[in-house]
Amino acid sequence: MIAHAIFFYTFSIIAVVSAIMVTASKNTVHSVFFLILDFISISCLFIMIGAEFLGMIMLIVYVGAVAVLFLFVVMMLNVAQQKNQWFAGQATSKHIPVGLIISTLIFFEIVIVIGGWKYKPEIFDINNSLANTSVSNTHSLGQILYTDYIHVFQISGMILLVAMIGAIVLTFRQRSGVKKQSYIKQISRERAEGVEVLEVQSNKGVKIDD
């Protein structure tokens, strides 16, 4: 039990500190690395409460794919420089008051939601929780997702697909004059199409038209 507590507090302290460092660190790439550390410690916490499937999926999806793309974008943009200018007070941004208003709104919304939160009384009954059943949590998650909530599950998948197609459509531009390699065309070419044997006369040369 003591070991459990030690691990819990270690991971949660790392999670909280790295979450603070995401916003506090001056270098944008550092904040993405802190975000990754945060994701990893959160997934460790998931594993500690017995939700090993969720923890692993968190690692694969967020750390393995989403954060890589974050890092990719942040490394490409020159955000660090811009941010330092704000800190130095050389350039005032019009976005800061808007951002403050929106964040206060969201803060109060969260306060309202959490203030009115009520748990089902069964949840506090330890004998009733999923962790104590003989079924592994991968199975129990599947049995809930693919039976009772199949429509919600499918709709959320559809929304993601639509978002993906939308992003592709919005950023797609057709450029003219780009040479593309067509494998079928290359392989199906005959010798007669590509090679022509010419009789070259001395001092005349050949006229090649292309």
């Binding site: 790439v29 690395f33 990754i36 090993e52 499937f53 692993m56 999926i57 690692l59 694969i60 750390v63 393995g64 794919a65 890589v68 793309l69 890092l71 990719f72 490394m75 592994s136 949590n137 991968t138 390699q181």
Partner: protein, 329 residues
């Protein structure tokens, strides 16, 4: 307290053989490469040159570690450590027999997949922290490449899981008692093998460190022991991918024929033999295939492997459903 020591012994019994075999596998890689090209390869240090890797390691240890003054020092030092650690922690879930496994967890295959998808961070960190053109280009290439090929590896794993009905690695091995998955899922095995080449940055997909274009990619600024750690991590990752292929498709620790003299051989030996077989294939590919162009690499990942493996998921699922073979527990 004794339980802690017991676990530490177990971990050492796993890690030391892994590290020694990584050194040996580097030698084997170079020998196979030389054999294909009708050269001798390393054959001077020790019998058959077996101690060549040891000599190389000593050389790396005594070389100076140079940290570029314009680099981001913390991340620069962290990068090889991350690569090495991730390559080693994944071995915790590899089963060497029905009982010989360090951590027999429920979601073993997901753990392996997660750790191998984290491997990209060592390379990105190294490339970015070097603060130099070639390492950065190499890091960006490798990030795009590894993320792309992870997708097809994930779908291939789903194929195998459909036939097993469990995420535990030992269950996956036991499910192949009657027939190794390499027979019914042969196209998936081929795609897995090629994706594993791309995932570990092996030739013909070694674009992140393409020496003709990028000097040495993300490793350009590294020297001494830090370079050696990248190198060890890379080979430990290759071995890990071979182990994953052996477990998913070649029956893991099970003997190829279920008859008397073969079943006496311990499971670890069979697993090692299968890993070696896959590794020799890796080494042969390195020797005989030229490097891919980057757009061809992306096309192969997204336009060929992803649709193929998705179609195969549909086929496997419908076959299992129609003939009522779905594993239920």
């Amino acid at each position: 307290m004794s339980i802690v020591f017991q676990e530490v012994y177990k971990i050492l019994f796993l890690l030391v053989p892994v590290l020694v075999s990584v050194a040996m596998i580097v030698w084997l890689d170079r020998r196979v490469w030389a054999f294909v090209q009708k050269r001798q390869g390393p054959n001077v240090v020790g019998p058959f040159g077996l101690l060549q890797s040891l000599a190389d390691a000593l050389k790396y240890i005594f070389k100076e570690i140079i940290i570029p003054s314009s680099s981001n020092k913390v991340i620069f030092i962290l990068a090889p450590i991350v690569t090495m650690t991730l390559a080693l922690i994944a071995w915790a879930v590899i089963p060497f027999s029905a009982t010989q496994v360090l951590a027999d967890i429920n979601v073993g295959i997901l753990y392996l997949f997660a750790v191998s998808s984290l491997g990209v961070y060592g390379i990105i960190m190294g490339g970015w922290a070097s603060n130099s053109k070639y390492p950065f280009l190499g890091a960006i290439r490798s990030a795009a490449q590894m993320v792309s090929y992870e997708v097809s590896i994930g779908v291939i794993i789903i194929n195998v899981l459909l036939c097993v009905g469990s995420l535990n690695l030992n269950d996956i091995v036991i499910a192949q008692q009657n027939m190794w998955f390499v027979i019914p899922l042969f196209p998936m095995f081929v795609i897995f093998f090629i994706s594993a080449l791309a995932e570990t940055n092996r030739p013909p997909f070694d674009l992140p460190e393409a020496e003709a274009e990028l000097v040495a990619g993300y490793q350009t600024e590294y020297s001494g022991m830090m370079y050696a750690m990248f190198w060890l991590g890379e080979y430990a990752n290759i071995l890990l991918m071979c182990a994953m292929g052996a477990i998913l498709f070649l029956g893991g620790w099970m003997s190829p024929i279920d008859v008397y003299p073969f079943t006496l051989v311990p499971g670890a030996i069979w697993l090692i033999l299968k890993i070696l077989l896959l590794f020799i294939l890796f080494a042969l590919v390195k020797a005989i295939v030229p490097r891919y162009r980057y757009d061809q690499l992306m096309r192969l990942g997204w336009k060929v492997f992803l649709p193929l493996s998705l179609i195969w998921v549909v086929l496997t699922a419908s076959y299992l459903f129609y003939f009522n073979l779905l594993p239920v527990n």
